[in-house]
Symmetry: C2
């Protein structure tokens, strides 16, 4: 099989309450990552704000932007200039009183390839997302970019094999998981480790089940009493970790992968051939009593 190499970049940062500064610092890091050779770069969930879902605060809606808002416009120019594809997770305003947790994908010519709206919305102490975000209503998407067919799933989506499966069935070669997940400050190290490993396991498994590359990009730094655990990583279709970022430092990195590994993996382990699609309807049930 002919090789099909592409260089993937990740940017894992701290955030402050200064959105302009977060954006400009990230742009600097995008430039540095592109300089290292990255052609498709993924940012973290809600990349240029604090993870404001720590509480339910009406004022936070001021942070949201339309799909074609100023952040999108500035980053589109950057993509055209650097000839990079960029995954930009942001707080989306759709209309008055209707908001989403979304990501736009900008192609290497600067055009917006499309917008994905997070489908699975959590609500747990410190992660009050159901207050802020309506669940996505446009399904799972694949973006046919200049450097490959990619899908984006956002944070809580990452725990659902259904989501990655549908992305793969739609042709995704790489699935990106921008995320914001952390440990409560002071939680014991043993549980921290179990949680990180469970998170990495489920994302690795999406690679294995589907024969695709996966890329998880998490924020780092302490916000309120939450230590975001960083640890962004890239896997091949075997779920083998090709790169892993540290937990508590900012990181940017560019890693070359070979998308022909999808064909290699799936020929040897042809899971798609043997799916029992006639037996999967119960997956659409909440529970089977």
């Amino acid at each position: 099989m002919a090789e099909n190499k592409v260089n993937i970049g990740i940017v894992q940062t701290f955030c402050s309450d200064n959105k302009v500064d977060n954006t400009q610092r990230t742009i600097k890091l995008i430039r540095d990552t592109a300089e290292k050779g990255a052609r498709i770069i993924c940012l973290q969930e809600l990349f240029n704000t604090l993870y404001f879902c720590i509480e339910e605060d009406y004022n936070q809606f001021d942070l949201a932007e339309f799909q074609d808002g100023p952040t999108a416009q500035e980053l589109s120019k950057l993509c055209a200039q650097l000839k990079i594809v960029l995954v930009v997770p942001y707080f989306e305003k759709r209309t008055a009183g209707l908001y989403h947790n979304s990501a736009i994908v900008i192609d290497a010519d600067g055009k917006i390839s499309g917008n994905y709206r997070k489908q699975h919305i959590p609500d747990d102490p410190g992660y009050y997302e159901k207050f802020y975000f309506a669940p996505g209503d446009e399904g799972y998407k694949v973006f046919d970019t200049q450097y490959g067919k990619i899908s984006v799933l956002i944070c809580w989506d990452q725990w659902y094999p259904e989501a990655s499966r549908i992305a793969a069935l739609k042709g995704a070669e790489i699935i990106f998981y921008p995320t914001a997940i952390g440990w409560p400050v002071g939680q014991d190290e043993r549980l921290n480790s179990k949680e990180y490993n469970a998170w990495q396991t489920i994302i690795k498994s999406h690679a294995v089940a589907n024969g695709v590359h996966t890329v998880a990009v998490n924020r780092t730094g302490v916000e309120y009493d939450n230590q975001f655990w960083g640890g962004s990583f890239i896997t091949d279709p075997f779920g083998e970790v090709l790169f892993q970022a540290p937990y508590t430092d900012e990181t940017y990195e560019a890693i070359e992968v070979d998308l022909s590994q999808t064909e290699y993996f799936r020929r040897r382990w042809p899971f798609l051939r043997d799916r029992r699609t006639d037996t999967y309807k119960p997956v659409t049930k909440r529970f089977i009593d």
Copy 2:
């Protein structure tokens, strides 16, 4: 939450071409595992024969037994005597010319709780299962045994998140994966390691996605030019490996787990609450062109 402890046993063995001897040696190991405290014991796929699917040979059908055949009867008595639940993977004859790769679950009173027929059937060099086994036509099952609600998925099933999801939605607290998977003799160690890790990753992920315990039981030993890789293991709902067997030795072990971990895990990470069942219909498609 009140603890709900149960002791799980695994038996990982070599097989020869002597079915009677394989059965009697396994019975000895079941007794030893029960002696160590195990209450639910799982055997490996096609536990008392060679992995005969290495070639397409009509004579191998002689090895098959009906659900209530002599092996089932002997093991039922053993279960009643030892007061254990047993997962018995075997070559099932359903009628003339119709065979399955199945597992019976025997309850601790010796009664057969039910029969599961492998749904996903591979066909790859050295694994010519489509010649021998009709795909299961009765769906995924949960067996409500004296020591817990358990599901059984067999080998190739293990790669499919749809199967484990349906088992969990039907109430499984533990999913057992009897299997027969190995490396071609002489394959390089690097690829061996990638394959083993991918296999462990996908099974661990079923624990994480569903908040259940998982138990994988694989055969070991060289048969023809296949080194079955053993490495049977047990995980908690975080996908953390509580016990792992060696690759090339026979092993039996009993490990106590706490089924209340399912409730603990799912309260903290309530994935079942937030499933977007309205968006999963594409999972029933072969591919989405």
